[in-house]
Amino acid sequence: MSEPLIDIRRLVKYYPVRGGVFRRHVADVKAVDGVDLAIQRGECLGLVGESGCGKTTLGKTLLRLHEATSGRIYYNQPAPQVEEVERLLASERDGDRAAAWARLKDMDITRLGRSNLRKLRQRMNIVFQDPSNSLNPRMLIRDIVAEPLVAQHLIKARDVEKKVLDLLHVVGMGAGHLKRYPHEFSGGQRQRIAIARALATSPEFILMDEPTSALDVSVQAQILNLLKNLQRDFHLTYLFVTHHLLVVKYTSDRIAVMYLGKIVELARTAEIFQRSLHPYTKALLSAIPIPDPDSKRERIILSGDVPNPVNPPKACRFHPRCPFVQERCREMEPLLEDAGSGHAVACHRWREL
C-alpha cells in the first residue's frame, strides 16, 4: 500500500455548549470523538454517515478551519517517522513525550505555525455543499477564480486571465463566462466555478463536502464525472463527504462510515457493498432506494432516531438502535479492528453476523 498523505490519529473535536446567565461552559457537543483514519495519496476516500454525525466537522478540522480539541493530523509525513513519534507519545518517560511534542510542531496540522499553515493551504482545498453561498455574489467569476492565486502572490497580474481561462476550460466553461456574476449561473455551473477555484493553487488534496447534494440529478452526474476525470488527470487526493451512498460508490476507492463522531467501518468500496460488517452500514445500505421496481430486498428498518451528540450512548454508540444488540454492547466500547484485507470494523459481533 502507498504512503498515507494524511494520517489522522485520535482526533477529537468538541464544540462547547454554553448556558445560563453567564454563558458558562455547561457541556460539549462531541462532534468528532476519537477518529483514526489514513487517507492514501491519490485515492478518493468517501466519508458517509447520517446528518449531524460529524462529517463536516472532521473535514474542516483537517483543513484547520476548526481547531481540534486534541489528536494529531500528520500531513505528508513518512510512515516510520509518524510511528516513532506516536511511540514516543505513548511512552512512560516525560523526556520522550517532550521530544515528541517538539517534533510535532512541524508534522502535525493542528500545531503548525502561521507561515507553515499558509503554505499548506495552497496544497489543501475545499469545495462546499452549497455553491450559491460559497461564492461572493459581488465578484466577477474571473476574480473569484483568481482570488486564491492573487492572495498568495502566486501569479503575475498579466498572467491571471490566461490562468483563469485554463481553469475554466478544465471544468468545461469558457471565455464567455469570465466577466459575469455568480447569480447569472445555474447551480451546476456555480459548482463548476467553485471547483475551478479550488483547483487554482494546484492542490494535492481537496475536501469535497457534499459537492452535489444541492444539485439536480441530471446536473449531479455532470459534476461527478468531472470530479472523477480531474482526479485522474491531476493525481488529486479527495476526501468525499456525503450522505448519499450511491454517490460515493461511484466516486470513491474506499469508504469510511461514521456514526456519532466515530468511524465504525472502513473498507474498499466494492467490499463495503458486498460484505459490509457493521450493522449500521448494513442498515444504511438496505435503506438506499433502488431505482428499479423489480428489485426485492430485505430492508433493515432502524428504530429510533439519531441520538444526541452532547450525550452519546455509552459503550457502543449504536446500541440503542442496533437490531443485534447484546449485553456486552451496552457495557464495552468496541474498537476498530482489522477484519482482513484492509477492512476495519468496530462492532463486537461482526464475526457472527
Binding site: E50, Q189, A221, L246, P289, I290, P291, P293, R299
Partner: protein, 432 residues
C-alpha cells in the same frame, strides 16, 4: 379503474418583477382510487405548484389561468366529476379538510413552536372529526353513568343528550357562518383587489372573532356542569391523538404529546406532521417531498410508514419527489415532469423498463446505481428559466433527438401503449 382526481390542461403563472413565470404549461394528471401515484422531476419543474394548484392554494403572485381540476369522490357526481376551480372557497375548505390532506415540503416549519404536540394534532380531530368525537364522549359518559346507579344516570343522560344536540346544532350553525363568509371572501378575491379590500378586512375580522368564540366556550357559559363534559371531550381527543401517534411508531406517545416541536428530531417532527394530515382520514394524501431533508435510515422509516398507512387508512397517495429510487419503491404509477410539462406517464414498471421520453431516459441514465461502472450518462445543458421557456417542446434545447418540429408547438400527449402516455414528437409524428 375509478378516477379520484384529475387535472386537465392546467396553466399557472406567477407575475414577478422579472416577468411572468409560466410554471405550469397545460398539466394533465390523474390519480386513481387506491393507487400511489408519483410525481417526479428536477427542482423547479413545477411539482409543488402543480399540487398547490390542484388544492387551489397557489401562493400570492400565482394564478391558475386556465384548466380544470375534477374530483370524483363526492357522491354528487362520481361519473363526470366536479370542477373544483368553479366552486366556492367554502366548498374547497370542506374538501381540503375532509377528503384531501397535504404534507408540505419543509413540513417542520408548518408546526407551531409554542403549542404542544398533543394540542396541534388534537386540533385536527376537533376540527375535522368533531361529530365523531362528540358521539364517543357521550357514549363513554353514558356507559360510565349507567354504572353509577339509576337516579344519577337518568339525570346525566338527559343532560348529556341535551348538550350533545345543542353542540351539534351550534357546530352546524358555526360551520354555516364560516362557509358564508368564506364564500364572500372568495367572490371578493375573484372580483379583484382595490376598494373592497376594506370590506375584506372586516370580513376577515368577523371570521376571526367567530373562530375565537368557540362553540364550546359559548355553551360552557350557558350550561352548568359543562366543564366536566368539556374535559371529557378533551380526554377523548387526547386518546385518539395518542393512539394515532402510537400507530405511527412514535415511541412514548403520551410524553411526546405533552412536548413541543423543538424537542423533537427532524424525523419525529415529520411524523407529527403526517399525524396531523391523517387525523381527518383523507381520501387522498398529498406528500410533497416528505423525506427529502431526512437521512436514509429515517427516510426508510417514513416510507414504510406511508406504505402501511396506505393499506390501512388512506385510499390514494400522491407522492412528490426527485428521487427516482423512491418512486420505484413505493409508487404504482408515476409522471415525469419537465419545466412545467408532464413529459411521460406510465406504470412504474413500464416507466423504468421502457422509458419513452428522451428526458426520462436521460434522467434514469444519470442516476448513480448500485451496479454502476464507467461514466455516468448525463443530460447536457441545464434546466430552463421559466420566464422565457423554450418554444415547442420545452426539452428540445437539451434533447439528443430534437428535430425541426420540436421547436414549433408543444407536442401533444398521446397514449403510446395502453396506460403509457408520452408528449414527444418521436412518437406522435408517425415515426418509430
Amino acid at each position: 379503474m375509478q378516477k379520484l382526481i384529475e387535472t386537465k390542461n392546467l396553466f399557472t403563472d406567477f407575475n414577478t418583477f422579472e416577468g411572468v413565470v409560466k410554471a405550469l404549461n397545460g398539466v394533465g394528471l390523474v390519480v386513481n382510487e387506491g393507487e400511489t401515484y408519483g410525481l417526479v422531476g428536477e427542482s423547479g419543474c413545477g411539482k409543488s405548484v402543480a399540487v398547490r394548484s390542484l388544492m387551489r392554494i397557489v401562493q400570492a403572485p400565482g394564478r391558475i389561468t386556465e384548466g380544470k381540476v375534477l374530483i370524483f369522490f363526492r357522491a354528487e357526481d362520481r361519473s363526470r366529476g366536479i370542477d373544483i376551480l368553479r366552486r366556492s372557497e367554502a366548498y374547497m375548505t370542506s374538501i381540503r379538510g375532509d377528503s384531501i390532506s397535504m404534507i408540505f415540503q419543509e413540513a417542520c416549519t408548518s408546526l407551531n413552536p409554542v403549542l404542544s404536540i398533543g394540542f396541534q394534532v388534537g386540533e385536527s380531530f376537533h376540527f375535522h372529526r368533531r361529530a365523531q368525537m362528540l358521539e364517543e364522549t357521550i357514549r363513554d359518559l353514558d356507559e360510565e353513568l349507567g354504572r353509577g346507579g339509576f337516579f344519577l344516570a337518568r339525570g346525566w343522560k338527559v343532560l348529556s343528550r341535551a348538550l350533545f344536540a345543542r353542540e351539534l346544532g351550534a357546530l352546524k350553525e358555526y360551520e354555516g357562518a364560516i362557509d358564508r363568509i368564506d364564500h364572500e371572501l372568495y367572490r371578493l378575491e375573484e372580483a379583484g383587489s382595490g376598494e373592497p379590500l376594506r370590506r375584506k378586512g372586516a370580513l376577515q375580522r368577523r371570521r376571526d372573532r367567530l373562530g375565537e368564540k368557540s362553540v364550546l366556550a359559548e355553551i360552557a357559559r350557558r350550561v352548568p356542569g359543562f366543564r366536566r363534559y368539556r374535559r371529557r371531550l378533551e380526554r377523548t381527543v387526547r386518546r385518539h391523538v395518542v393512539e394515532l401517534l402510537r400507530s405511527l411508531g412514535v415511541p412514548n406517545p403520551e410524553r411526546i404529546a405533552e412536548g413541543y416541536p423543538h424537542e423533537l428530531s427532524g424525523g419525529m417532527q415529520q411524523r407529527i406532521v403526517i399525524a396531523i394530515a391523517l387525523a381527518c382520514h383523507p381520501v387522498l394524501l398529498i406528500a410533497d417531498e416528505p423525506t427529502s431533508n431526512l437521512d436514509v435510515t429515517i427516510q426508510a422509516q417514513i416510507v414504510e410508514l406511508i406504505k402501511s398507512l396506505k393499506q390501512k387508512v388512506i385510499s390514494s397517495v400522491l407522492f412528490i419527489t426527485h428521487d427516482l429510487g423512491l418512486v420505484a419503491e413505493i409508487c404504482d404509477r408515476a409522471s415525469v415532469m419537465y419545466a412545467g410539462d408532464i413529459a411521460e406517464t406510465a406504470s412504474v414498471r413500464e416507466l423504468f423498463r421502457q422509458p419513452l421520453h428522451p428526458y426520462t431516459q436521460g434522467l434514469l441514465a444519470s442516476v448513480p446505481k448500485l451496479s454502476q461502472a464507467g461514466e455516468l450518462a448525463t443530460i447536457p445543458g441545464t434546466v430552463p428559466n421559466l420566464i422565457d421557456p423554450p418554444t415547442g417542446c420545452r426539452f428540445h434545447p437539451r434533447c439528443p433527438h430534437a428535430m425541426e418540429v420540436c421547436k414549433g408547438v408543444k407536442p401533444p400527449t398521446i397514449e403510446h401503449s395502453p396506460g403509457h402516455w408520452v408528449a414527444c414528437y418521436l412518437y406522435s409524428d408517425g415515426k418509430k
